[in-house]
């Protein structure tokens, strides 16, 4: 069936701010949906409150509403825009729940708005576990035994029925498994049940037989109106059942299933999708299989695009959200083209000839007393994906992608391994399980032993054991006598030069990664770049989507166009999230507009930047020095763009400088100067710009001396961090000692700064662009919360609501002076503290695009990220229309993950804790969005 002509305007509901369990994968799906619908000629109206998304850019939809995601907003929009249909499957559970609620009150029907992409009843079936269960029974799909409880008493009875603890609880209708978990013992039983009942909007929890330790699988499906179903991707979880799939290491495709077993999953998935409705769109099904038997149970089904479908799209090259949108408006799969090959049908199942590994990224270090054990409630804040020709290669690359200072899966520095500790760490699921498994093998454990403890499938264990075997073999050599054959094996298994350097170091870390690179370059051992093509090379493909591997043949042909490499921002984490991806995507678009071929390097599968339609060439690779350098050596770009990828890209600046790779825009030395808190303060002194009294130190003793000079309270800041990592306010000496010791543990090599903390100061963020001649103030944001609360965690108002013109002028003037002195070409952000006596102090400066760039762009309508990028590439500010469209005020409201961590106290300080933000347009200060945070502004300030 061709597309529907009875609808003109489609309302798309976004997913709102980034929270744990719902991240930028929905910007990716939403963006694809917008493009997909627009190219079919529909009028797209979008609602999303998240300013940091690409989907909310003016060019994405015909009308964008940056409004709170509430039923009231949707109704208001429908009044004005009169949509014919609503597509609620691209905005995660948030959008589905909104659509469901409005359906429940009969709104869609009353307004004659068609719900497309899902059957609205389907949402109820899949979310109401009891109904879902009944349906599965009807169609003969096995499930684990379970029953719904509405009270604690009922819960107790059910546990009796199921034969006692452990049991699994799942509250109905919650996001990312909120409030769910495994109950191991009687002590925690009541607490967890009550919490689940409270969190569930309908106050129901499902109590399930525990299938902890079973093998877990996922399938991503698409179906059209003609009931054709295809499986886009199969995923096998490395972590067995018991860990939320968002927190699990997962692998695509399945590795340990025979065809008969896999087809059983496929048949069941199709049957399940057909049983829940007749909608055309995407769907995700999760299964568990019992080890030792062939028993297969269905775990859940999600009738929408999801985190997994974003992963599946990146893993296979099949754009699920884009195609799902086309199906929603009436196309059938066989009427659509496979966009990768360009000449085969979209109605097929991708075959891949590589292994994809996803590893989640956590931020436990940011929260005191957090329970790090993984369970059925998601705790990860982001994830990385890696592609290799083999599992070991992909696993090592994933660890290089995580940006936690690792060169791969271990083997990258001295670690004292204690048998008992490793064993203990393995008995429960923790975030670093794959590394601990490696450690266990390093200590001589057997595959059987590790399997007994962890229940991880022996095939995966065997692969890690092989990696350790290579490590052990390598340790016997010096770099010079390392046999070529072994070096090839190591590189094929994904070992970084840094790991090999460490393994061949016998006196501390005397061998450098450059030495290893030199050795392999001499041998002609270079990375090759293979294509992601959905068809295992069966057909020629046109999409320039690459990954590196050590093979005989590379497929990435280098053009003779002038090119620029844009480094992505890696996995989402607190302090560095979607805002930086937003700027990366704009940088790509801007560089394209200026005639450059754009090359994107990133490893975050949730993002728009890793959509293969964004840059001219996408390298899905770790933003890790060696991998980036391999690509640069191959592509030979004019330069690299470091200002848009957050701290990730900046961290590599030193290496670029050292290897004579041109950095575009602001010179390296001056970027570095701004990062080095000590040097920067000296510059401010020269410029006659006030800053809080400070001192620098390398040690505890030094810190105490400085503190005596500048006076408590002290703000302690390590250099080269983002999101205020490790920053603390100390009000007395013993606190200072403790914090300094913490910093020394995590950042031992850098000087750290001790500021006198400006109490009762107002904090202000100024974002600007400087082209060497002219300064453009993009936005001045006044924080509601006092200085001391990280700017990312603050409620910020644009423009300032209570500062005098004089103070504002002073800040503009200081910003200009700093930009000049740093020879900024591109972005600059300066944070100021304004004391009650109206004195303006510089707190810090960042010569790069910051988190607030997208917020300002959305508030003012000026495409700041693009403008900044063009300036980096040599354009002048005078070429652009920079007039703001903002009337009244825009307010940025942070969103925190404290509901996921009930054991953590809500405290705000100089270390960032929020995962996302929303934008709200403010007309007057009586508005709740201003009044409420204003009232609470001092409440949570802590250390």
């Amino acid at each position: 069936m061709p597309k529907r002509t009875d609808i003109e305007t489609i309302l798309l509901i976004g997913s709102g701010p980034i929270v744990i369990g719902q991240a930028c994968e929905f910007d990716y799906s939403g963006t694809q949906a917008c493009q997909s619908l627009k190219e079919e000629g529909y009028r797209v109206v979008l609602i999303n409150s998240n300013p940091a998304t690409i989907m909310t850019d003016p060019m994405m939809a015909d009308k964008v509403y940056l409004k709170p995601l509430t039923e009231a907003s949707i109704k208001e929009i429908c009044e004005i825009e009169k949509p014919d249909a609503v597509l609620p499957t691209m905005g995660g559970q948030t959008a589905l729940n909104l659509a469901w609620n409005l359906n429940h009150e009969g709104y869609w029907k009353e307004q004659n708005i068609d719900v497309i992409g899902v059957d609205i009843d389907t949402i109820e079936i899949t979310e109401d576990r009891q109904r879902f269960r009944g349906l599965m029974e009807e169609i003969g799909i096995d499930q684990c035994r379970s029953r719904t409880a509405r009270s604690l008493l009922e819960a107790k009875e059910i546990v009796e029925e199921l034969g006692g603890l452990p049991i699994v609880i799942r509250p109905s209708y919650t996001l990312g498994g909120s409030g769910g978990g495994i109950v191991w013992n009687q002590d925690e039983f009541e607490r967890k049940i009550l919490r689940g009942l409270e969190l569930s909007p309908i106050h129901e929890v499902l109590i399930e037989e525990s299938i902890v330790g079973w093998k877990e699988f996922e399938l991503e499906l698409l179906r059209d109106n003609n009931d054709n179903v295809v499986i886009i991707c199969s995923i096998e979880n490395f972590d067995p059942m018991g860990v939320h799939t968002g927190d699990s290491v997962t692998v695509a495709p399945t590795q340990t299933l025979t065809d008969k077993q896999f087809q059983k999953l496929r048949d069941a998935a199709i049957k399940m999708m057909r049983s829940i409705g007749t909608f055309a769109g995407g769907c995700n099904v999760q299964f568990a299989t019992e080890p030792g038997t062939d028993r297969l149970v269905a775990v859940e089904i999600n009738p929408r695009v999801s985190r997994s479908s974003a992963l599946a799209s990146k893993a296979t090259g099949y754009p699920i959200a884009k195609i799902a949108s086309k199906l929603a408006i009436g196309y059938n799969l066989d009427e659509l083209e496979n966009q990768i090959t360009g000449n085969t049908s979209a109605c097929f199942e991708p075959s891949i000839d590589y292994v994809v590994v996803k590893v989640p990224r956590f931020n436990f270090e940011k929260f005191q007393n957090i329970d790090e054990e993984l369970s059925t409630q998601m705790k990860a804040v982001g994830e990385v994906m890696s592609i290799g020709r083999t599992f070991p290669e992909a696993l090592n690359k994933a660890w290089q992608s995580l940006e936690i200072g690792r060169g791969g899966l271990g083997a990258d520095g001295y670690e004292e391994l204690d048998r008992k500790q490793v064993r203990e760490r393995l008995t429960k699921p923790y975030w670093d399980r794959s590394l601990q498994i490696r450690n266990a093998f390093k200590l001589g454990a057997s595959v059987e032993e590790v399997h007994d403890i962890t229940k991880v499938d022996p095939w995966f264990l065997e692969q890690i054991r092989y990696m350790v075997e290579l490590e052990n073999e390598t340790e016997q050599y010096e770099p010079d006598d390392l046999p070529e054959e072994l070096l090839i094996k190591l590189k094929k298994a994904g070992f970084s030069d840094r790991q090999i350097a460490w393994l061949t170091s016998h006196r501390g870390d005397d061998v450098t990664e450059d030495q290893i690179r030199e050795k392999r370059e001499k041998l002609g051992l270079k990375a090759t770049f293979k294509l992601v093509d959905t068809c295992a090379a069966e057909f020629p493909a046109q999409t320039p989507y690459y990954y590196s591997s050590y093979e005989d043949e590379g497929e990435s042909e280098v053009s003779d166009k002038k090119k620029v490499v844009i480094l992505g921002s890696g996995p989402n984490r607190i302090g560095q999230g979607i805002e930086f991806d937003y700027s990366c995507v704009h940088a790509v678009m801007a560089a394209n507009e200026m005639g450059y071929e754009t090359i994107m390097i990133n490893c975050n599968p949730e993002t728009v930047s890793t959509d293969f339609n964004v840059a001219d060439k996408l390298y899905f690779e770790p933003v890790y020095w060696e991998r980036v350098y391999d690509i640069i050596q191959h592509e030979k770009p004019e330069g690299v763009m470091l200002q848009v990828g957050g701290q990730t890209a900046l961290k590599l600046a030193k290496q670029f400088q050292k290897h004579n790779i041109p950095i575009l825009g602001t010179p390296f030395e001056l970027m570095d100067l701004a990062e080095d808190r000590g040097k920067f303060s000296r510059l401010l002194k020269e410029l006659d710009i006030p800053f809080p009294p400070y001192g620098t130190a390398f040690s505890v003793e030094g810190a105490i001396n400085v503190a005596e000079k500048v006076g408590y309270p002290i703000l302690l800041r390590p250099s080269y961090v983002l999101g205020g990592q490790g920053m603390r306010i100390a009000i007395k000496e013993d606190e200072l000692i403790r914090y300094v010791n913490d910093v020394l543990r995590t950042h031992p090599e850098n000087e750290f700064l001790l500021d006198h903390f400006l109490e009762d100061a107002i904090e202000v963020d100024v974002d600007a662009i400087y082209d060497g001649e002219q300064l453009h103030i993009a936005g001045i944001m006044q924080h509601l919360e006092p200085a001391g609360v990280h700017s990312g965690d603050s409620t910020a108002v644009l423009p300032p609501y209570s500062l005098s013109d004089e103070v504002i002028e002073t800040m503009k003037e200081y910003t200009q002076r700093i930009a000049e002195a740093l020879q900024v070409q591109g972005f600059i952000n300066v944070q100021y503290g304004v004391t009650p006596d109206n004195k303006v102090y510089v707190i810090e400066a960042n010569p790069r695009a910051t988190r607030t760039v997208p917020f300002i762009a959305k508030a003012t309508g000026v495409p700041e990220a693009k403008v900044g990028t063009k300036v980096i590439l040599g354009a002048k500010l005078s070429e652009f229309d920079l007039s703001s469209q903002l009337q009244d005020y825009a307010i940025k409201e942070p969103v925190f993950p404290f509901d996921k961590f009930p054991e953590v106290k809500k405290e705000l300080g100089p270390e960032m804790k929020s995962t996302g933000e929303t934008i709200y347009f403010l007309k007057h200060f009586d508005d709740e969005h201003f009044k409420k945070p204003y009232e609470f502004k001092n409440l949570y300030l802590s250390k």
Partner: protein
């Protein structure tokens, strides 16, 4: 973990790749083809249609789940050799009887691992199918290239009868409708699927004289899949025409589809690169539905070759529009190019066995009615 003896793969156009020997030590040759199915290596290696071919799996990790008796499509591996990127000697699966490694070795199958299979797939895709030789004993690459050059071409090669069973075999219930199946390299799962329909199946050696088959009064005839070129299979064409004369329903899969078409004068040509995988979209033109299918063929029929008065094209491949299914006009027969029995692959097309069974039942019933 892997045995470290070197092996060489030499293609007839002079391309050479070096890797590690797997399976048995020795030298082997055949047409180099690839399969893009990500699961089911054992079913593929034992598929009689692959007789005489060197099978290169595009999915890099092979051997992961070992081997199991229940995954055999024939009692032994049928491929002439195997080529994989990364070979797992250690395996993990509840249902496994042993490792792929021991299995290949015990059956004397020579293989090679650790080479850039993707490069070779791209090579064949560009240059077309060609013969190759794998050796873990001959280090001289020139000699191996010569050997590959001299290896007989698949075109014009009649292979079906060489792997067909020696004696008729009986499957399924003792009573019920009878199907006579001609074995040109019949996969076990086709037999299973027919039996699942309640049919009594007798599988005959390829060259069994039709008169002998007819004596048992079958209610329907089946022509199986198998290796090689259908064009020289005169004996099979003769069986088809005699089966047509009986007026009984006829069903053909793959090579069987091709011999049925040839008998009706429809041309079957060798393809530049065959279809081998478990993800090919086939559109059923009668229902408009799309099936994801298992494919394994190096010869095919183009839509132009089909005269409307002879057969209706019922299925087409959505990737290259080649004919995937025919419903014959002049007799009660239909056939498909792909593999509805799957194994390995999706189960979307199992309805074809029901369709065959329905046709057989209908004719049997009407005959009974006429007789009484």
């Amino acid at each position: 973990m892997a045995p470290s003896q070197t092996a060489i793969l030499a293609l007839s156009d002079g391309t050479v790749a070096t890797g590690t020997a797997i399976g048995a030590i020795g030298t082997t040759g055949g047409e180099l083809c690839f399969n893009t199915s990500m699961t089911g290596y054992q079913e593929i290696f034992t598929d009689p249609s692959y007789h005489g071919q060197l099978m290169m799996m595009t999915y890099p990790h092979i051997g992961n789940y070992g081997v199991s008796e229940r995954d055999n499509e024939a009692s032994r591996p049928m491929v002439a050799g195997v080529i994989v990127r990364s070979y797992s000697t250690e395996y993990s699966n509840t249902m496994a009887d042993g490792s792929l490694h021991d299995w290949l070795k015990n059956h004397g199958i020579v293989g090679i691992s650790g080479l850039d299979t993707r490069r070779l797939v791209r090579h064949i895709r560009e240059k077309g199918v060609m013969n190759a030789v794998i050796s873990s004993e001959e280090p001289d690459t020139d000699k191996l290239i010569q050997k590959a050059k001299k290896w007989p071409s698949m075109a014009g090669l009649e292979l079906a009868s060489t792997i067909s069973r020696g004696q008729p075999t009986h499957h399924g219930p003792d009573e019920g409708l009878r199907i006579a199946a001609f074995d040109y390299g019949m996969k076990q799962n086709i037999i299973n699927k027919l039996v699942e329909q309640g049919l009594r199946v007798t599988v005959y050696p390829a060259r069994t004289p039709f008169s002998e088959v007819e004596k048992t009064e079958p209610d329907g005839y089946f022509f199986s899949n198998g290796p090689g070129d259908p064009n020289p299979m005169e004996y099979a064409l003769e069986s088809v025409s005699k089966a047509i004369e009986t007026g009984k329903p006829i069903f053909g899969i793959c090579l069987g589809h091709q011999v049925m078409a040839l008998q009706q004068g429809i041309a079957v040509d060798k393809m530049f690169v065959g279809h081998r995988g478990a993800n090919h979209p086939v559109k059923n033109l009668k229902t408009g539905r799309v099936e994801i299918t298992t494919q394994n063929h190096g010869f095919s029929i183009t839509q132009d070759a089909v005269d409307e008065s002879i057969a209706e094209v019922t299925h087409i491949n959505l990737n290259d529009q080649t004919v995937e299914g025919l419903d014959f006009k002049k007799f009660n027969g239909f056939s498909v190019q792909y593999h509805p029995e799957a194994s390995p692959g999706p189960h979307d097309s199992a309805y074809l066995f029901e369709e065959f069974c329905r046709r057989v039942e209908r004719i049997a019933k009407s005959e009974t009615a006429t007789a009484s």
